[in-house]
Subunit: 153 residues, 3 copies
Amino acid sequence: MNAEQLVEIEAIRQLKARYFRLMDQKRWDELRDVFTADVEVRTPDDTGDETPIIGNDAFVDMLMSMIGEVTAVHHGHMGEISVDGDEASGVWSMEDHLWWPPQFGLGHMWGCGWYEETYRRDGGHWRIASMYLRRIRVESDSKQLFPREGVPS
Amino acid sequence: MNAEQLVEIEAIRQLKARYFRLMDQKRWDELRDVFTADVEVRTPDDTGDETPIIGNDAFVDMLMSMIGEVTAVHHGHMGEISVDGDEASGVWSMEDHLWWPPQFGLGHMWGCGWYEETYRRDGGHWRIASMYLRRIRVESDSKQLFPREGVPS
Amino acid sequence: MNAEQLVEIEAIRQLKARYFRLMDQKRWDELRDVFTADVEVRTPDDTGDETPIIGNDAFVDMLMSMIGEVTAVHHGHMGEISVDGDEASGVWSMEDHLWWPPQFGLGHMWGCGWYEETYRRDGGHWRIASMYLRRIRVESDSKQLFPREGVPS
């Protein structure tokens, strides 16, 4: 690691900060720009499915339908980022809370896990190119949601 | 962003870390030095009022009266800092817990939000020059406290 | 602080990130390498004892026996790191959750505190050389565990 790489690491750290903040502030248009157009997102512990969602529009559209009416708090911690030219990879610890409006009858969800992700420099800006979320623990008022828990293998 | 700015960003990150730690450790005299003498602080979701508190002494005195006897845990996350000469600005995600002593009858408060703030280099040291806290969610054992919740507009 | 020190600070920040992640992922062999062979660890609010545990093997062996079967989430926040040649020191805010398997009858523990620690460059790698955890608050389903709370003096 050298001082030039630190500049890239800080840029990626602030990129991931925008990911969390723009999602919780529901600034969907700005959130699209956090990702590459061909981003691959897998959240198997939330969706029950390893099939990736492909594309920033598809992913943000899915978020809008899933949490558009939900008060959401997503926090990231202790990023480990390494840069190699115009590509980079990272791991972030995360914790999130979702509170559904009363009419949904789903109450509150709280979860923890890690994002494993890659980044790509694209048009002079770092963007998230792939994101894989594994959960270590989920607690939910509703048994219908997030049935899985345990340490990822 | 360049390597010299990174030095300033790290200095501001550690400044904000001292803000959180010195407040929770109730080191009030050291906490005063985290702010400029003319700091402007607004916490409308906590106080119900957009009127700023002006001055590090006034703000720390208010903190001492509000949480001097309260066990307080304040955590900051995912700072986005940008530096312009001797001035800088930042956004921090935050989460806090307050536990009042039993005789207060107020129980426990838990909240999340963002600080939007500015910094100024002052006598060779970065200090917080303004701080604006918006809440996204507050849960409280007491209905008298923190009645507001929802996504800031 | 200068740009060269920033490289060391980032290396130590990622070291501490590995500490948290490898512990929660139960990657015990990799976790041993986070510490110097002669690391001194004191966790008086957890163990009731100021006597240090000496050595990375002794400490990781103790962790394995204490939380080997427990779902554990440890998060670190707002590190304040200063570097002096091949030595460094830091403070980290922390929050942890432990969920024991049902047969233990211990339920869930949630705590917050600070790590005060030192680091040493050892064979080209930064490692944790000493770690002192003080708790500000612990809440536990079991009265047998972690009876202490309050602001460290």
